[in-house]
């Protein structure tokens, strides 16, 4: 069972069955859970070590795939938690808490969808594409350089941009620049919309994607990255500033949020994950 409506949030103990690089900077970890899980594109799970080794807080990861009891996550080593995850070899037990959060919705009938994925922001949109993508929808992935792109995970129809061309594998093509620049270039060449834009990636990319959609008057949904404590709304730690004051919680109100509702200036200043 890999599709459908999730049955509820489950706390499970999984066993690592694979944990390997898929590019120069990204890795995929695969867990075997005691039961199948269903999730929607954009939902995440909190992973943690178990017992005495457990970190004070688990770490949120978007779900890349779930087939039966096997569930996979894409990650990059950015801190203590992901460094520990990278050393978690086959057989190690990890806690899994999910699926959590608000997903990306299915495509609207009246217009195509533009997908913008950056770095480890790939999973929600890759799985969305797999389940919902239509020929008129368009998708772009942005990586740091040619070696950083997890080519095996990028659907054929997608276009790729890299900030540096170093390490580009033979036979692969990539636009030189940011993914939002690639998107603008392709839109200028047509068809120019109207679209609805879905984006997942680092903060500057999301802000730029939101600006692009706003200029065009298109709806835009972004999946925000924030440091989280609990993942289920009780610690109030993953606050995202919202336009007009106040805030939402990345774990509970998001991670997928209407870009027009986010106060990007305050979010940027507060050090939203980059």
């Amino acid at each position: 069972m890999s599709e459908g409506t999730p049955a509820g949030r489950r706390w499970l103990t999984g066993i690592v069955v694979a944990n390997a690089p898929v590019s120069h900077g990204m890795r995929v970890i695969e867990l075997e859970l005691p039961e199948p899980v269903a999730f929607l594109p954009g939902q995440f799970a909190m992973l943690n070590l178990v017992g005495r080794e457990a970190l004070t807080f688990g770490r949120p990861f978007s779900i890349l795939a779930a087939e039966g009891e096997r569930v996979r996550f894409l990650y990059r080593i950015v801190g203590r938690g992901t460094a520990l995850l990278a050393t978690s070899g086959p057989g190690l037990r990890l806690s899994f808490f999910g699926p959590l959060g608000v997903p990306f919705p299915p495509p609207p009938a009246d217009r195509p969808v533009l997908l913008l994925a950056g770095g480890v922001g790939l999973p929600p949109l890759q799985i969305w594409w797999e389940r919902h993508g239509r020929s008129r929808d368009r998708a772009f992935f942005g990586g740091r350089d040619g070696a950083d792109v997890p080519w095996s995970l990028i659907p054929e129809a997608w276009e790729v941009s890299v900030e540096k061309k170093d390490g580009l594998p033979a036979g692969r093509e990539a636009f030189s620049g940011l993914v939002t620049e690639l998107c603008r270039v392709r839109l200028a060449a047509g068809p120019s919309g109207p679209y609805v834009l879905y984006a997942c990636g680092p903060m500057p990319m999301l802000r730029d994607a939101a600006a692009l959609a706003s200029e065009q008057g298109w709806p835009c949904l972004v999946s925000v990255e924030e440091h989280m404590g609990c993942g289920y709304g009780v610690c109030r730690g993953c606050a995202v500033p919202m336009a007009g004051g106040g805030h939402g919680l990345a774990c509970q109100d998001g991670p997928v949020l209407d870009a027009a509702r986010v106060d990007w200036e305050r979010f940027d200043r507060s050090g939203g994950a980059t």
Binding site: G8, R9, R10, W11, L12, P34, E35, M46, N48, A54, L55, T56, F57, G58, R80, S95, F97, H227, G229, C230, Y232, G233, V234, C235, R236, G237, C238, A239, P241, G245, G246, H247, R266, S270, G271, G272
Partner: protein, 303 residues
């Protein structure tokens, strides 16, 4: 189980005028208002509420508070530093919207209250009593006298025994048949005078301890990580501090103590019970694992 243990954390026990449903609680601010988590399950437990004595609600203030600017929560190697800033819906919204749902779900609660003046504690306790006096699932009030993240009240407020006594005295008359606890700050040289003040004001017990003031520095910028510089440090690192403060209160004041601070496992809880606490609260551990308290309670079989 150690040979001296002869308790049963699932049996109701008396605290002041009230029979409390069990001895393993979740700490204020660590399990929301008690509405979150009802749809979470695990192969081990049907619900995170299994075996749970009481949920102490997130602290409520007279008016809603948006909380502090981000970042608010920093993980450190043995705990977490938070500066949430008493974000809450306000007492009125809690009474109107949250309390009826808690009653429907039959969540046993102790309501945590914070204010900046003793008279406000009295007014909040009165309002709560007027609205909730018939609710069987409402067991008491915990006065948060020590939240370190609120500029206008906060830490200095709870460090003064006279103020602690005044706050308890203000609330007590409005709570004739509910347990009244004062949650104390550990950020003092000696905590016993605060507990004695709470006792003298009419508290049925004290909750000890709240978070320890801490600060972390971002080495990239050379500045404190939290916008308000200091925050409240919690998690496993503060367990020995909590034990020392609890011991001081038990030995010198003799008032019932609800122990809290770094408790994640049954072994942690047993250390507090060994010192004589009447109940324990699971805090930071409950945030990262919604089954932390349920698991702890299940690991303390009656004897």
């Amino acid at each position: 189980m150690p040979p001296w243990w002869s308790g049963d954390v699932g049996v109701p026990f008396r605290l002041g005028p009230r029979l409390l449903p069990g001895r393993v609680w979740t700490a204020s601010g660590c399990f929301g208002y008690g509405l979150s988590g009802h749809d979470i399950s695990s192969p081990e437990f049907g619900s995170p509420f299994a075996g749970l004595g009481v949920v102490v609600t997130k602290t409520l203030t007279p008016s809603p508070r948006p909380g502090n600017p981000m970042p608010r929560l920093v993980e450190l190697p043995c705990g977490a530093l938070n500066s949430i800033g008493l974000e809450n819906v306000g007492l009125a919204a809690f009474l109107d919207e949250t309390l009826p749902r808690l009653q429907e779900l039959r969540v046993p609660i102790v309501v945590s209250l914070a204010a900046t003046r003793p008279a406000e504690f009295g007014a909040m306790a009165r309002e709560l009593q007027e609205t909730a006096c018939n609710l069987e699932n409402w067991h008491g009030v915990e006065l948060n006298l020590s939240c370190p993240n609120v500029a206008e009240g906060g830490i200095d407020f709870g460090r003064d025994p006279d103020t602690v006594r005044a706050c308890v005295e203000a609330a007590r008359p409005h709570l004739p048949d509910r347990a009244l606890l004062a949650k104390l700050t550990p950020n003092v040289a000696r905590i016993a005078p605060l507990a004695a003040a709470a006792r003298d004001g009419g508290a049925d017990g004290v909750t000890a301890i709240n978070t320890v003031v801490g600060l972390d520095v971002d080495l990239r910028t050379g500045r404190p990580v939290l916008p308000r510089r200091c925050g409240g440090y919690s998690g496993s690192a503060i367990l020995p501090i909590a034990l020392a403060k609890v011991d001081e209160i038990v030995r010198e004041v003799g008032l019932p103590v609800v122990g809290v601070g770094g408790i994640a496992t049954a072994a942690d809880a047993l250390k507090f019970f060994a010192l004589g606490v009447v109940a324990v609260q699971v805090g930071t551990a409950q945030m990262s694992d919604p089954f932390a308290a349920a698991r702890l309670a299940a690991a303390l079989p009656p004897r």
